[in-house]
């Protein structure tokens, strides 16, 4: 394959890859159109015509189409919501890519294509969301390899094109009247440009580029630019200020699906009664009014474009200090890091302490989220103890989340409750369905809010119309996913059931919110420990009824349980690996924060530098040197950090010393005169040579002294003639021969005469007037 074909194929492939990545990120069909455009562009516009020019769309047509694309994007911008506005920009980039693909190609347009493909990747990064985006990372790495390869081949292509016969003038055809310089190409491989060393060089460039990219990404401090007001305090974990859900602050419908297939541990729970006896979580859950142990995360109130978000108007968490721990159930919990700063427990917490007995968390009164305090590790697993109510067996709790009367009477809280009644536009069918369900059960009397809510819950859970599934196939992408679930697909997991219930409750004026957390777990009787894994993640609904948040769960419980259990049977090496990768991706890429950087990078670096400062060698060089030698002579210690450091310092010092010695030897060798060339130096001739050198006349290697004298005479004749020394150079050359080769010793008067002659020449040649 020749260079041009290789370059064009690479460029079109990279463009197609960018289109595919954008399409997968957007989950729309428009970016996938780039694949077709790439195919057409490559076959049509890159095909050479008879006159050796490429075909393509004319500039006028391209401008017109560009205008049309701009109009289409503008219309999309003004007709859609926030996401639609972003998509309008995305689509504009895609349309422009199509147009450039079909245009007649120049180097600039090739580069434009490359720039547009980079923009597609960037837009794809914006569009993609959630934790399950590891594929994007893999695709981006592949894209980097492809892009570096394409740009490198492009550089070759342009360089070769500058020297190609079509753009150059052959020496014989140049205008004979004008001076001309004719450049050439020196290629050790003949006409071949893409060679094995080139391919390996590009691979090295890509790999090292990715390494630097990783450093950039991990080390750039996440000091986000505040979008409003002054810098917010970064010392307090962000979860304290803005509560997170169990999964994220924003949940897109379907995101939970992959979590439901993960076996990653989330928490371990041991329950103790007030008299320190082990308590079964299932029993305690039933006492609390739940069918299974329910670990509450946060409540999401705002629904926009298939995304649930938290209500932004929160208040500061209240401190949870156990006032009478001896009368409460104690929950000892070990929580793994699950991408959130929330703490989980069964029921409503009345106090939380860490292993040192200090207060460990606070309760967000609006959402009921428990957030950890800065004293606890923001990352990694944490241990804490929660004290919760001990319901009497004869008076079990109804499972509702109680809100303090002081809080619920606040206007802020009333506003919060009112916001949980908001129903987005475009859900008319859902509204109709909710009202129909309620009206079908209102035979003679009006249902209470709780009854109405229960009827809808039962409709979704037990009517048999809807089944539990982890499949996320969309039947009608034009309508809201919840309506798609309710009327078309009729299959979904807990997120869909919960979302449908929340929205249907809002349709009949009942404030409701979506709650995320975990439900169930594996109880180990021998250790009295409940093990909760990611597959136990769950979403349910809370409705504001009778001054409390009533827990409603529309998900078919049996089907869900079967699905959760089936995850264990479907476990494979690939799924484990995928889960691990997704976890790594989520922890280290999507959710990386300044706190984590501080913990993983900055602090260790600071400590390392500080440890260098504390090294013994600064206090006592001798003792330090001795310990250094000890490290070197004991191979067992080479694997320790200190030993590895000492070994590295030794090897680096040896390498530097060798390098220095080599340079030193070279410079000394260069300065040493060649002793084998033991010629006597004829002083007057040396002076003559120096004089000539000052006038930019240098004797060439193939030139004899006599020939050099003739050249000097010819060049300097006008000046020498003025002082009557035209024959001076020749005479000096003659005398040089006599002295150098004839071993003649010049008499004093002749030496003097030559000195005078050289003086005269010097004067004449250096004088400005001459």
């Amino acid at each position: 394959m020749n260079l041009a074909s290789a370059f064009k194929l690479s460029l079109y492939s990279v463009t197609a890859l960018a289109g595919w990545i954008l399409g997968a990120a957007e989950e729309g069909w428009i970016p996938y159109g780039s694949l077709l455009a790439v195919l057409v562009g490559y076959i049509w516009s890159e095909a050479e015509t008879d006159d050796n020019h490429s075909r393509g769309m004319s500039d006028l047509l391209a401008s017109f189409l560009g205008f049309v694309a701009l109009c289409a994007s503008t219309a999309e911008f003004f007709s859609e919501n926030v996401e639609g506005r972003l998509l309008s920009g995305t689509h504009l980039v895609v349309y422009l890519t199509w147009i450039v693909l079909l245009q007649r190609k120049t180097n600039r347009r090739y580069w434009l294509l490359m720039a547009l493909s980079i923009l597609q990747i960037a837009v794809g990064a914006v569009l993609i969301g959630g934790l399950t985006t590891a594929w994007f990372g893999a695709a981006a790495v592949v894209y980097v390899f492809g892009a570096v390869w394409t740009l490198s081949v492009f550089t070759l292509y342009r360089s070769a094109a500058e020297f190609s016969p079509t753009t150059t003038m052959i020496a014989g055809t140049a205008n004979p009247a004008e001076s001309a310089a004719f450049g050439t190409v020196q290629n050790e491989s003949g006409a071949a440009w893409i060679t094995t060393p080139f391919v390996s060089g590009v691979a090295f460039t890509s790999a090292s580029g990715l390494f630097i990219s990783a450093l950039f990404f991990l080390l750039i401090p996440r000091v986000w630019i505040p979008t409003s007001g002054a810098l917010a305090s970064d010392d307090v974990p962000s979860a304290i200020r803005s509560p997170h859900s169990a999964f994220a602050t924003e949940v897109r419908l379907g995101d939970i699906g992959s979590i439901l297939e993960s076996l990653d541990p989330v928490l371990q729970l041991q329950l103790h009664t007030p008299d320190h006896q082990p308590l079964s979580p299932q029993v305690y859950a039933e006492q609390l009014g739940y069918a299974e142990p329910l670990f509450r995360g946060t409540a999401l109130s705002i629904y926009e474009e298939a995304r649930w978000k938290i209500d932004p108007h929160g208040v500061r968490p209240t401190k949870l200090i156990p006032y009478s721990p001896g009368t409460m159930v104690r929950q000892d919990i070990r929580l793994e890091y699950v991408g959130t700063d929330a703490l989980f427990c069964l029921g409503t917490p009345l106090g939380i302490i860490d292993h040192e007995g200090k207060a460990a968390g606070g309760l967000q009164p609006f959402t009921g989220l428990i957030t950890r305090y800065p004293t606890m590790s923001p990352r990694g697993s944490v241990r804490y103890s929660v004290f919760s109510e001990n319901p009497k067996p004869d008076r079990p709790s109804d499972g509702s989340v109680r809100v303090n009367s002081m809080i619920r009477s606040q206007s802020l809280y009333l506003q919060y409750v009112a916001r949980n009644k908001h129903l987005p536009d475009g859900l008319s069918r859902l509204q109709e369905l909710a009202r129909k369900i309620v009206s079908d059960h209102e035979h003679n009397h009006k249902l209470t809010q709780l009854q109405a809510a229960r009827e809808i819950e039962i409709y979704l859970r037990e009517s048999g119309r809807y089944s539990y599934s982890l499949s996320l196939a969309v039947t009608d992408p034009k309508i809201d996913p919840v309506e798609d679930f309710l009327f078309n697909r009729k299959q979904g997991h807990c997120e869909y059931f919960a979302s449908a219930l929340v929205l249907m409750l809002r349709s009949i004026d009942i404030p409701a919110r979506l709650v995320t957390g975990f439900k169930g777990g594996n109880y180990d009787v021998s250790t009295h420990t409940l093990h909760v894994q990611q597959r136990h993640a769950h979403a349910w609904c809370e409705a504001w009824i009778d001054q409390g948040w009533v827990t409603l769960d529309a998900t078919p419980a049996d089907e869900r349980t079967a699905s959760v259990e089936s995850v264990l049977s479907k476990r494979s090496l690939w799924s484990d690996m995928r889960t691990q990768l997704a976890g790594l991706w989520a922890d280290n890429v999507v959710n990386i924060s300044l706190e984590k950087q501080e913990e993983v990078f900055y602090r260790p670096i600071r400590e390392f530098i500080a440890s260098i400062g504390r090294m013994e060698v600064w206090k006592s060089p001798r003792a330090g040197f001795v310990s250094f030698l000890k490290l070197l002579v004991s191979p067992r210690q080479w694997l320790s950090p200190q030993g590895a450091g000492a070994l590295f310092v030794t090897i680096a010092s040896a390498w530097l010393a060798v390098r220095f010695l080599k340079r030193f030897r070279w410079s000394v060798w260069r300065r040493t005169p060649d002793l084998t060339d033991n010629h006597p130096i004829v002083e007057f001739y040396e002076r003559f040579v120096r004089l000539m050198q000052s006038l930019n006349l240098q004797r060439e290697e193939a030139q004899t002294q006599h020939e050099f004298a003739q050249v000097a005479t010819a060049v300097l004749q006008p000046k020498l003639e003025l002082v009557g020394l035209t024959c001076g150079p020749t005479e000096i050359a003659d005398l040089f021969y006599q002295v150098r080769f004839g071993d003649r010793e010049l008499p004093a008067d002749e030496s003097r005469r030559i000195e005078e002659m050289l003086n005269g020449m010097e004067q004449a040649l250096n004088s400005r007037g001459a």
Binding site: E178, G201, I212, F217, V589, T726
Partner: protein, 479 residues
């Protein structure tokens, strides 16, 4: 052709230019613990970054100022490096900047990831280009002399001193400067393997007589990504001396030249035009001319001995070149000067070729005076051509004194030719009355018949103006 920065050396920074940066770093560093009280972690990190930035700038400046050679202490060879960001690089950087700003504003790690994926290859690109230039060494081998219109090669050798990294797609640009024109030539080296050299060449066809200065050499590359063009200057000077054009004399002029020999006053030996010098005595053979018998020797030896003569055309030639030109020379007059120099050089070359032992003399008068004497050997002619290469036309005030001097010095066997750029009808003609002098007025002769070139002699521009030309590229290749 890509844009290349001018070949000028950078100004060396002064040591005191580092004071402001160091002072700011010092003040901020001393006040760190006091001023960062109550600051957030992010603010403290930014504060530290600013302190480090100022300190690095200060140290770099002071290191550059104190280094014994320009910039070698801080960044070896940095002072000779140049960087140009082409449009592609600007677009790339703009996208990077937009992504970074967007990521910081929207708190998007994913956007920051794309930024990092762009930044990594960009940094590697800069490091590779800088490394390639650091390890590159260029030398030039150019012929010291050439003739006007002669196509010749200049060799450039690019060496790579690095043990592991190849040099890729590196162009070497040479500058060729003359008083009246500037040219550039580019040689592209596709690859130079580690610890090896490659020799490339460019071709020159120079149409002006005189000295052409070569250099400096500029190596530059955009490899691998084409986003940044870095260059390094090698102040490697060279020179090519361009001789006047040498052709061959036309048939008529050749005859005139030979005919002129008959007019030279010289003793004629006995045996006619071509048997003019006694060579040796030998025995008589049948068919020999009896008139050549040397009777005295024959009598002494008792056999017929013949006098043998040898043909000898060697006669000395002395050319006086009158390079007269008015103050405001026109195109035609400038052309006459070149014609005169070519004519004189050709005449001497041809005469030297025919008469190897003849003494050849050239005296030229123009802006300055030039005298040369030698024989037709190449070493001897070289000095003549060197002189003619740099000879300039002018008022030629010394012409008459040169004529007198040549006539006085030369023997009767020397043919004297006066070659002048003045017309015979010139208002101030040269007062030449000596019949020994063959005066040739160039404006009055048909020069195209007098001197024949392989390629027609093209006129030089009327007024000498500095012309700059980029190199054309030849020897195309498959891509």
């Amino acid at each position: 052709m890509s844009k290349v920065v001018p070949a000028t050396m950078p100004r060396r920074p002064r040591w005191y230019s580092s004071i402001p940066a160091l002072m700011v770093a010092l003040v901020l560093g001393l006040g760190y613990s006091r001023w960062t009280v109550g600051m957030t972690l992010a603010s403290r990190i930014m504060f530290r970054a600013v302190v480090v930035l100022f300190a690095v700038i200060g140290v770099f400046q002071i290191a550059s100022a104190l280094s014994p050679t320009r910039g070698t202490l801080a960044t070896p060879g940095f002072g000779k490096h140049r960087m140009v960001v082409p449009v592609e690089g600007i677009v790339y950087l703009t996208i990077m900047f937009a992504l970074f700003t967007g990521a910081m504003l929207t708190k998007s790690n994913m956007l920051l990831l794309v930024f990092a994926l762009m930044a990594g290859p960009f940094v590697i690109n800069g490091w590779m280009t800088f490394g390639m230039l650091q390890s590159a060494r260029v030398t030039r081998t150019a012929p010291p002399r050439a003739m006007v219109g002669e196509l010749f090669n200049v060799e450039l050798m690019l060496s790579n001193s690095r043990p592991l990294m190849s040099i890729w797609i590196m162009s070497v640009r040479d500058t060729i400067q003359h008083a009246y024109e500037n040219l550039t030539a580019v040689v592209l080296f596709a690859r130079v393997a580690p610890r090896s050299s490659q020799v490339g060449h460019y071709q020159l066809k120079l149409m002006r007589r005189g000295r052409y200065q070569l250099g400096p050499l500029l190596t530059y590359s955009r490899f691998p990504l084409g986003l940044v063009e870095r260059s390094r200057l090698f102040p490697l000077a060279g020179e090519v001396l361009i001789y006047p054009r040498i052709g061959r004399l036309g048939a008529a002029w050749r005859r005139r030249w030979l005919g002129a020999t008959e007019l030279v006053a010289r003793p004629q030996p006995q045996a006619g035009v071509f048997h003019d010098e006694f060579h040796r005595l030998r025995e008589f053979r049948t068919g020999d001319n009896p008139r050549d018998i040397h009777w005295r020797t024959s009598a002494r030896r008792g056999e017929l001995i013949l006098r043998e003569y040898q043909q000898n055309r060697d006669f000395n030639l002395s050319i006086i070149l009158d390079l007269w030109q008015p103050d405001s020379a026109r195109k035609e007059e400038s052309r006459l000067i070149e014609q005169a120099l070519s004519f004189a050089a050709t005449a001497i070359v041809e005469h030297g070729r025919g008469c190897r032992d003849a003494i050849l003399t050239l005296s030229a008068s123009g802006a300055t005076t030039f005298r040369w004497q030698g024989q037709g050997t190449s070493a001897s002619l070289e000095s003549l051509f060197d002189g003619l290469a740099v000879m300039n036309a002018g008022p030629a005030r010394d012409t008459m004194s040169l004529v007198d001097d040549v006539v006085y010095r030369s023997s009767n066997s020397t043919q004297i030719v006066l070659l002048t750029t003045r017309s015979a009808g010139d208002p101030n003609p040269l007062p030449i009355h000596n019949p020994r002098i063959d005066m040739i007025c160039l404006p009055d002769i048909d020069f195209e018949r007098a001197l024949i070139f392989e390629e027609p002699l093209e006129p030089v521009p009327d007024t000498p103006t500095v012309v700059s030309r980029e190199s054309q590229v030849s020897l195309g290749m498959e891509t």
